[in-house]
């Protein structure tokens, strides 16, 4: 397949493996930020190609995993309300809220449509004027422009039955929160290529300088990831901490300005709760005052509540999300916590660190 096969050919990948083995003189810990990268690393067995002293830890970049329980509960309440149809990305279906998931809510009769693009939800709203359509807008800066485009499309069509349940999250504040933790072991980051395609990487220079960490904007194919790791190691070995762009075929320093304009037109930056991580300042987007009439919370019969954390829980998801421990080190991993019955957010989506480990390494 063109534009994919070129980045999976063994020769270049094995050449980078050899170069890495020559380069590395001591242990290094690198975090790949994006869940898509985690998935690719484990799917293609990239972790097995690295020199022993290099450790990858899996970051909090799985949008499904970090969507807060209270949002899932609101989505379920809306979907169970007569006259409302919830439109959602497929992989949100399995994520458990405080009582159940969208899958089990649908089994109870909730009206839920799985869509591929937010604009499909707008079209659905056009076709069903008798229903209120709520689009469950989750994801990082990658999916936020598409949500914004859906809102603008609904405005242009003067649709009065299209709403957004918005829970978009921003990557840079989460990385900052990680680095501020005294237990954080991360020495270098592979930044998420698709987030940077939209937002650029100008925000990362200050982060790299403040925390003395190299940040390499990295793609998702095996060759991208091997090259990203190599560039990061090269900086670490030479004592540098700059921002580099491995994913040049997609990412520009300033990002996609049109997409950013759409985001800023529709959303405002707010504090946002992250599942298992608590509230991170300025880490999310919600509808701004011009589009607040499309906020789905107006359709809720109960006031939204914030999720409560259970401190007796054996699940150490927070430490996994920060890279402090690897999934198998959690006492619940593979025992009370499995992809069928996730206790922790990273066990939910195939991009979550625990689920990815469970799938590819099994119950160790």
């Amino acid at each position: 397949m063109k534009y994919v096969d070129e980045y999976r050919r063994p020769e270049k990948i094995l050449r980078l493996r050899d170069a890495m083995h020559q380069l590395v003189s001591r242990p290094w810990t690198i975090m790949e930020v994006c869940g898509g990268q985690t998935h690719s690393i484990l799917h293609h067995g990239i972790d097995q190609l690295l020199p022993d002293p290099v450790e990858l830890i899996h970051g909090p970049g799985c949008p499904v995993c970090v969507t807060d329980t209270s949002l899932i509960d609101q989505a379920i309440e809306l979907a169970l309300t007569p006259g409302i149809c919830l439109c959602t990305y497929g992989d949100m279906m399995r994520v458990p809220g405080s009582i159940e998931s969208l899958f089990s809510a649908r089994a109870k009769g909730a009206r839920i449509e799985i869509i591929y693009s937010p604009t499909d939800a707008v079209t659905f709203a056009q076709q069903h004027p008798d229903l209120n359509i709520v689009f469950f807008a989750v994801g990082f800066e990658t999916t936020a422009p598409a949500s914004a485009a859906a809102v603008l499309m609904a405005e242009a069509l003067s649709l009065d039955n299209f709403y957004l349940l918005a829970s978009h999250v921003r990557v840079p504040p989460a990385l900052e929160a990680l680095m501020q933790n005294k237990d954080c072991r991360v020495q270098g980051f592979l930044a998420a290529g698709h987030v940077c395609t939209v937002m650029g990487y100008h925000e990362y220079h200050q982060l790299a300088q403040t925390y003395h960490v190299p940040i390499v904007v990295t793609g998702f194919e095996p060759l991208d990831i091997m090259e990203g790791i190599y560039l990061c190691l090269r900086q670490l070995e030479t004592g540098k901490h700059a921002v580099e762009n491995q994913y040049r075929r997609c990412v520009r320093e300033q990002g996609n300005v049109h997409a950013q304009e759409a985001i800023h037109k529709v959303f405002q930056v707010v504090d946002m709760p992250w599942r298992g991580m608590g509230v991170i300042p300025a880490s999310g987007f919600s509808l701004n005052r011009h589009y607040v009439h499309r906020d789905a919370s107006v359709l809720l019969q109960h006031a939204p509540t914030t999720s409560k954390t259970n401190t007796n829980d054996p699940c150490l998801a927070g430490q996994v999300l920060q890279g402090i421990i690897k999934p198998p080190a959690c006492p619940a991993y593979g025992k009370s916590c499995t992809p069928e019955h996730p206790l922790g957010a990273p066990m939910v989506s195939s991009e979550g660190a625990c689920a990815a480990y469970y799938h590819y390494y099994g119950h160790l």
Partner: protein, 348 residues
């Protein structure tokens, strides 16, 4: 933000209702079978893990239900599927179907011309595979209580070679694993036909009768050990089922480079974030064969219509625990994940 904030808020909960994922051919479906269905109605079958039962010395029985949507799709329709679905299940234990029952559940308002089209397709399929519909039943449910038409068929067939036992327990260390054609086309064609994701592609289902290929393999006297048709859950789920029911601590090692995959299916899978190993097929099977007969098995499969992409995709090896491994082009080996419910398009 401090460490205390990093607690997981998700409580444990059990499924109290059936969800779509229970029918996906993956882990959830197997748990439903093992924990809920088998213990109540058929405890002796709990570890059988076969799609057909041997009911007498050389007789096999199987049943299958068909709820596909849309009813007509590129490469087939629910009628043709309802015949081959059951005759293929019989073929996997080495039986050639002789008789079928046909149960039709029709929804009020269903167009009669569509029903006639489906019946014509059933008739053509039964002639093609040499089976006869000899009994049946028809029910009509109120509008909104069905999806046009659901079909159930059951089939009885005779073993082609009465002494040949094809089962997971027959798989041996060193066996070659051979797949009878390119994978994932049925699911890909259904995804395109449903128009759910706005994807346009020219992909026809692989729907086909497997009996002719199986008869040729058995008639050639090949040392076949186990056959399994790749339906819901795809090749990956079929391999897991066989691996975990052979009870001999055998592992399967797949070579990811050898998996036969058409460009169209590969592109669609990449676009949606699906793994083709877990995409459904309706005219493909996997065979476990002794290495000495691997070449001839492959040649027969490749000579059959639609079988030109058949390939040896892996081998069986003795290990401490039964596992399915996938070897990458870079030499690394990874466990093949177990499909949980249905595959769902990923967000990014």
């Amino acid at each position: 933000m401090n460490q205390d904030n990093f607690n997981c808020p998700i409580p444990h909960h059990d499924d109290e209702r059936i969800s779509i994922a229970h029918g996906g051919g993956g882990l959830m479906m197997h748990r439903l079978l093992e924990k809920t269905i088998f213990p109540r109605v058929s405890p002796e079958q709990a570890h059988a893990s076969q799609d057909s039962a041997l009911i007498a010395d050389s007789l096999a029985l199987s049943t299958d239900s068909f709820v596909v949507s849309p009813l007509f799709f590129p490469g087939g329709d629910i009628g043709r599927l309802s015949v081959f679905g059951t005759t293929n299940d019989l073929a996997m234990v080495g039986a050639e179907a002789n008789y079928l029952s046909l149960g039709l559940i029709l929804e009020e308002g269903f167009p009669k011309c569509d029903l006639e089209r489906i019946l014509a397709s059933i008739d053509a399929a039964q002639k093609e595979v040499g089976v006869k519909v000899v009994t049946g039943d028809t029910k009509v449910v109120p509008r909104g209580k069905g999806d046009g038409v659901y079909i159930n068929t059951a089939g009885v067939g005779r073993l082609i070679n009465p002494v040949l036992r094809l089962a997971p327990g027959q798989v041996c260390d060193g066996d070659h694993i051979i797949v009878s054609g390119d994978i994932g086309r049925h699911e890909a064609s259904i995804i395109v036909a449903r128009k759910e994701f706005g994807i346009e592609a020219d992909i026809a289902s692989d729907l086909a009768a497997l009996t002719p290929t199986v008869r040729k393999l058995i008639d050639a006297g090949l040392d076949l050990h186990c056959l399994r048709d790749l339906t819901r859950g795809g090749l990956g789920s079929a391999l897991h089922e066989i691996c975990h029911s052979n009870r001999k601590n055998l592992s399967f090692v797949l070579d990811s480079e050898k998996l036969p995959l058409s460009q169209e299916v590969n592109s669609l899978a990449e676009l949606l974030g699906f793994d083709p190993l877990f995409m459904a097929n309706e005219g493909r099977f996997v065979a476990f064969v002794s290495p000495a007969d691997s070449e001839q098995t492959l040649a027969i499969m490749q000579s059959m219509p639609g079988g030109n992409a058949a390939a040896v995709i892996g081998t069986v090896r003795q290990e401490e625990r039964s596992q399915v491994w996938v070897k990458s082009a870079y030499g690394s080996e990874k466990k093949l994940p177990i499909l949980n419910g249905d595959q769902l398009p990923r967000i990014c």
